[in-house]
């Protein structure tokens, strides 16, 4: 589902590469943690997958797309098959919960009747069925992140990218979000989650890919956050 072949990324403003010759493979339906300290290249990797940037060297594959060489006009097609969730939720403050989720479908031109049936389903799935008409400012952090996940998932993406989705949440709420991501993973969606959250990584016992200074430092199936770090 995701394949990186000798991928490097050098930014013009930096002498050290943000990613340095990274090769990795993620199968369809896998759940992978991407860990490493700040500046280790996690965000760069996610940006390359979303084609917010192109690799300096190497090839990035998502599904059957050669992401780095995708024509600009085809980028939306790629992103329509990927969902993303961020630490800061990125909800639209002037739209309700339901409208925020519907937004993702409206901008890709889904018909209104589809939107009307799909949005409540997805909100139920993230346990926010009763809060469809709330504004984002009325939600707790955990609820806001659930809305963001609903928005990322509503179009049934092949891949869900999560960039520190629990970074702003207390441990208990974070566990809830993790449960939700695992539930999404069980529907067949590949999940790639960048995180600093040791407790979540350790308790999930999923595949762990660790980056260090842009290089692939570790790739453990059923791994933990770190060994005596």
């Amino acid at each position: 589902m995701i394949r990186l072949e000798n991928v490097s990324k050098v930014y013009a403003t930096s002498t050290r590469p943000a990613l340095d010759d990274v090769t990795m493979d993620v199968e369809r339906g896998e759940f992978v943690f991407l860990i490493g300290p700040s500046g280790s290249g996690k965000s760069t990797l996610l940006r390359l997958l979303l084609r917010e940037d192109v690799p300096s060297r190497g090839t990035v594959w998502v599904a059957n797309w050669n992401v780095g060489r995708l024509a600009r006009r085809r980028v939306p097609r790629l992103r329509q098959r990927m969902g993303c969730v961020f630490q800061d939720f990125r909800l639209l403050p002037n739209k309700t919960v339901a409208e925020n989720v519907a937004f993702a479908l409206e901008v890709i031109g889904k018909p209104r009747h589809t939107i009307r049936t799909v949005v409540p389903e997805v909100l139920d799935m993230v346990d926010l069925g009763g809060k469809a008409d709330r504004m984002p400012s009325e939600l707790s952090g955990g609820e806001a992140q659930r809305v963001a996940i609903a928005r990322a998932f509503v179009n049934r993406p092949l891949v869900l990218l999560a960039d520190e989705p629990t970074g702003n949440l207390d441990p208990e709420t974070a566990t809830g979000i993790m449960t939700l991501l695992e539930r999404i993973n069980r529907t067949g969606t590949t999940v790639l989650m960048a995180t600093h959250d040791r407790q979540i990584v350790d308790s999930a016992r999923r595949r762990v890919v660790e980056l260090s200074s842009g290089r692939l430092a570790r790739d453990d199936h059923h791994g933990v956050y770190g060994v005596a770090r």
Binding site: P76, Q80, M82, R90, V107, N155
Partner: protein, 298 residues
């Protein structure tokens, strides 16, 4: 499609003061352009009107004027024959001193100048209607100073002043229209940038969920086009008002009646209005497109 329009309307409302400034500037610019177009039209019509009326006047000297009521003297007959044979000339009419005086009395009926003028002050003339009104100068050159000829006047030279006045009115309006258009273009570009900036979160999210350029950029273009079209409609309304309340009075008044043909409502609504709407929409779209290309990351 509905979504795109809704976004555009939200954008227009959000920057309401900017939108108004944009509409007003566009309207003024297009209004001036429209005035210029009307001026061109009027000038063309005035020229047609005058060229059908004006002639080259070959005034005859005093003995001929005094003694020849029907151009039967050899001198007059020869001049007339020569003029009629000229390929530049469409027709030649003889106006005797008496006929000239009668016309003079008619034109200045009731005015004090009549008391000063005697038939003796007016020459008999050969009125030459040119086949090509622009080449009257050649007749002037050829017949000036000939025996029996007092002087030769090309009436076109007299109305040339009027045309050059109308021409400079037109040029001034176009000049102002261009300056205003520049202001309008900059304002539209600025507003789109501002609009894109205030909506950068939304646009960022749209791009992440896979919205195409159509969805991310068309709302901004619609904003620009709506501005252009509303500006054009206002400009047209302004021209109609200008015509009804100002030009109609001016052109039918004593001074300019029969000098400049009136401007019809069809000129404004059937010709200039549509042109302005198209020009407004096209300029706004082009400005919007270029702005999005240059300043807004897609």
């Amino acid at each position: 499609m509905l979504f795109v329009w809704r976004e555009a309307l939200v954008g227009l409302r959000r920057n309401l003061t900017m939108t108004l400034a944009m509409v007003i500037t566009t309207a003024i610019s297009l209004g001036l352009l429209g005035a210029g177009l009307l001026a061109v039209r009027t000038i063309d019509r005035t020229e047609d009107l005058y060229y059908s009326l004006i002639a080259v006047q070959v005034a005859l000297d005093e003995p001929t004027s005094a003694e020849d009521p029907d151009c039967s003297s050899p001198l007059c007959r020869d001049l007339r024959a020569e003029l009629e044979a000229d390929p530049l000339v469409a027709s030649v009419d003889y106006e005797s001193r008496e006929a000239a005086f009668a016309r003079f009395q008619r034109i200045y009926a009731g005015q004090s100048i009549l008391q000063l003028v005697r038939p003796q002050s007016l020459p008999a003339t050969l009125r030459v209607t040119m086949a090509d009104p622009l080449r009257g100068g050649e007749i002037v050159d050829r017949f000036t100073g000939r025996p029996g000829v007092r002087n030769v006047v090309d009436q076109r030279a007299t109305v040339a002043d009027l045309f050059s006045f109308l021409g400079s009115v037109r040029n001034a309006t176009f000049g102002l229209a261009i300056v205003q258009a520049l202001a309008a273009v900059l304002l539209i570009s600025n507003t789109i940038q501002l609009s894109a900036f205030t909506r950068r979160t939304e646009v960022g999210i749209m791009r992440l969920v896979g919205a195409t350029r159509w969805y991310t950029q068309v709302p901004f273009l619609i904003e620009a086009v709506v501005t252009g079209v509303v500006g054009a409609v206002l400009a047209t309304a302004g021209l109609v008002a200008g015509k009804v309340f100002f030009l109609d009075n001016l052109l039918s008044g004593r001074l300019l009646a029969n000098t400049i043909p009136p401007i019809g409502m069809t000129d404004v609504l059937g010709y200039v209005g549509p042109v302005l709407v198209v020009v407004g929409a096209v300029i706004a779209t082009a400005t919007g497109y270029v702005t999005l290309r240059l300043y807004v990351r897609s």
